[in-house]
Subunit: 480 residues, 2 copies
Amino acid sequence: MHRLAHLQSIAGWDQAANMPAKGNEARALAMAEMDGVLHQMRTDASLQALLAAAEQESLDDDARANLREMKREWRASNALPQALVEAKSLAISRCEHAWRTQRPAQDWAGYAANLREVVKLQREEARLLAADNGLSLYDALMDRYEPGMTSAEVDRVFGDLRQWLPGLIQQVQARQAQQTTLQPVGPFPKAAQRALGHDVMSLLGFDFEAGRLDESAHPFCGGVPEDVRLTTRYREDSFMQSMTGTIHETGHARYEQNLPRELLGQPIAHSRSMGLHESQSLSFEMQLGCHPGFAKLLLPLLNKHIGESPAFEVENLTRLLTRVAPGYIRVDADEVTYPAHVILRYEIERALIEGEIEVDDIPALWDTKMMELLGIDTRGNFKDGCMQDVHWGAGLFGYFPCYTLGAMYAAQWFASMRRDMPDLDQRIASGDLNAVFDWLKANIWSQGSRFETPELVRRASGETLNPAYFRAHLESRYLA
Amino acid sequence: MHRLAHLQSIAGWDQAANMPAKGNEARALAMAEMDGVLHQMRTDASLQALLAAAEQESLDDDARANLREMKREWRASNALPQALVEAKSLAISRCEHAWRTQRPAQDWAGYAANLREVVKLQREEARLLAADNGLSLYDALMDRYEPGMTSAEVDRVFGDLRQWLPGLIQQVQARQAQQTTLQPVGPFPKAAQRALGHDVMSLLGFDFEAGRLDESAHPFCGGVPEDVRLTTRYREDSFMQSMTGTIHETGHARYEQNLPRELLGQPIAHSRSMGLHESQSLSFEMQLGCHPGFAKLLLPLLNKHIGESPAFEVENLTRLLTRVAPGYIRVDADEVTYPAHVILRYEIERALIEGEIEVDDIPALWDTKMMELLGIDTRGNFKDGCMQDVHWGAGLFGYFPCYTLGAMYAAQWFASMRRDMPDLDQRIASGDLNAVFDWLKANIWSQGSRFETPELVRRASGETLNPAYFRAHLESRYLA
C-alpha cells in the first residue's frame, strides 16, 4: 500500500503541476480506481483477525505504535463503502480541476454545482465515520487530519483567540501606521523569483536531490518523503508571496524529507498529523521567516536575484515581513490576521457538514464574517472570497483548524527552543539555522507517528497544547 | 487495468523527465509493485473460463477482435510468474536510472553489472514465453512488440537490405560530396529551441490541450492517449537534433492522440504494434520531415525562433535534412544509414538472448559491426557506442527491428498516398498537411488494434509488407 500510494501521490502532484486540460477526465478515473484498490486492501476481510491476533503478541514500542496506527486506519476505512470512496475521489478530481478555470472566471454557479456533490459525499462520510467512532459529524471529519482533536477543544482555543485577536490587530495596525515602510517596486521576472526560491530553499536545508520546486494554481507540498514535490505560484508584481509561500512549503518538505527513513513503509513513519505538519510550515514561514535575524540572511539572496533596493535593508525588510494588514487572501495573510481567516472557514465548514447551512449559503456568510472579523467587503468577489481556496472542493473538511493549531504549536516549539537555547535569536541572526533544524528534527521530524499528538507535544515542549505561547509570541513580536 | 496503467505511464514519464536522483529507489519499488498488481489481474484464475465462454458467444467484429487481443495478453501473462515480473520491473528501473549517470561517465563496467541482471531475466522470460507459444527465444520477445513477426521474416527483409544498403550509402555520399551545404552556426539557446519545438508540433497537429513537451536524457513519447507526454533533449551547438527528434516523437503522439477515443479502455483501442508506431514517427520525421515541401513550411518557424540564415533557404535546408553521413548515434542518424544501426543491434541482441554471446561480449561486437557496416571506429567510446541507447537496459529486447520495419511501412504508406493523391507532393509544399494526416488517421490511427498487422497493412496499402517501397523511396529521394 505504501508503494501504490507513491504512484497516487506523484499522479496527484502531476495533475496540479503539469497536466493539460483534456487529461483530467482520464486522470480522475485512474486515481479513483487506485483509491478503490487501496480501499479494498485496507478493508481486506482477513485484517480484522490479524489485527486482533497482533494485539495479543508481545510487541516492542514501535510495533505497538504501528499496530495502533493500523487499527485507526482499519477502523476509519471499514466505516466507508468502496462505492463512496470512489465517488468521492471522482467528485473531488472534477471539482478541483474545474476550479482552476472557474476561479479566475468568478464562476461561482459552476463551482457550487461541483461543490454540492462533494459536500453531499462528505456529509455521508461524516455520518458513517461518526456512527463508527461516536464523534460528532464535524469531529469525525477533523479526526482524519488531527486525530484526537475535537471541536469542543477547538472552540475553547479559538474562543479565547476571538476575545483578544481583534484588539491586537487594531493595536498593531495603529503602531505600524506610524512607521514608514518602503515597498519594493516590480515587475519581478518569474525566472528571478524561481532562482530566489531555489536559493531560499537551499538556505532552509531542502535536499534538491530528493525533491523539486514547480508551479501550480494553489501552492502545496506533495510527492513522497524520498521525492518531495513543492509548488508555488508567481506574480510578476510581487515576489513576496512566492517567497514566503516557498518558505512555508519548505517547512512541510523538511518534515517529510526527515521522517524516520529506516521506517518508511510503516505507519509510524508518517507525519503525526496535519496540525503538526502546519506547525512545521509555520515554524519556517512565521517563526523563522519573519524573524529579524532571518531578514539578514535573506538580504544577500534578494540582492543576487532581485537586485539592490533600500526596501531590502534589514530593518525595512523585517517591517515588510511583519506588516499586518487585513486582506482577502488567507495564504497571503500575515500571522496576526491569519487566524481570523481560519476562524471564518471553521465556522462555515462546521455548519455546512452539520447540515445547518447549504452550499448556496456560503457566499453571504463569507461576506458577513469577513466584514465582522477583518472589516473587509467581499460581496460579488468570489475569486478573492469563497473561491480562493480549493480545500472544500478537494473534500478537506476539518482541515482548516489545523493551520491555526499549527501556528500555536509552532509558537510553543520556539518557546521551548528558547528555554533550551537562550541565545537562539543571536544564532538565527548569525546564520546558524541548524540550531532550529536540529531541534525540530530531534523532537518532531524523526518521531514520525510513534506517539499520539498530546504525548509528542509534551515530550517536545514539556506540556500539551498551550495557546498562551502564541499570544505571547504575537505580543512580543508586534507590540514590544 | 486501463486506469491503473494510466498511473504507471505517468510515473514512468515523471521518472525520466522530472524525478531527482534520490527518488529512484522508491519509484522503482512502487512501479514494480504496480506491475505485480497488474500481472495478478491479468492472470486472475477466473479469466480462463470467462475467455473460453466468450469464445462461444455470438460477437460482433469489434468484440471478436477485443477477445483476440485479450487472449493474446492472457496467454503471454500466464506464461510468466509474478516474481519474475516484479524482479524484471525492479531490475529495469535500476538499470535505466543508473544509465543516466553511467553513460556520460563512460562507466561500462557499472552499466554491464546492471545489464547482466536484466539480460538474465529477459532470457528467463524468453524461455517461458517460447515454451508457451512455440516460437524461438528471440521471436518470443519480439512478439511482445510486433505480434506475428518472426526473425525468419526479419532475416529475409534485412538480408535484402544488407545487399544493397552499403552500395547505396556510398553512391549517395559520392553524390553529396559534390554539393556545398551551409551549416547553421550556433549557439542555439535552449529556450529558442523549445519554442521552435512547440511551433513545429503545432504545425504537425499536436493537441497541446492533451499533451506536453518536456526534456529527458533519451527522447520518448509517453503518457496516455488523453495526455501524451513527449520528451526531447537539447544541445546548444545544434538545433537540428531536437527539432527532428521532436518531429519523430510527434508522429508517435498523433497516433496516440487519434486512437479510437470512443473505445479507450478496450484492447482494440491500443496502437497496433511498435513497428506500426515507428511507421508513424518515421512518416513524420523522414517521409514528411525531410520532404523539400516541408522545408518550405519550416523556414518561417526557423526565422522566427532561431533567426535568419542562408542555411535556412529551402534548398540548403533540404540538403541539411537529407544529409547522409555515417555517425555514432542511431537517433541522430539519417534515414539512409539508420537501418545499419538497427541491423547491428538486431544481430547483437538476438545472439545475446539466444545465449550465443554474453553482456561482456557486447563492446567488441559493437566495435566490429560499426566498422563493418558504417566504417566507424567506436573502440573505448561507450558513451557513443553500446551505451548510447537504453533499450537493452530497459528490457526492450526484440524492439530494434521495429524501427526499420517502421521505415519500410512508412515508405509503403506514402507510396499508397501518392496513388490516391497524385498531387501529394504539391499539397505538402503548399502546407496542406491534412492530406497526409487524414490518410494516416483514416487508415492507421483510427483503426487501433481492430486488425492484425498484415490485414491492417493490406487494407491501408493494398498489399502486405513490401520492402521494395523503402528502396524505391531512398533511390528516388537520394539518387534521382
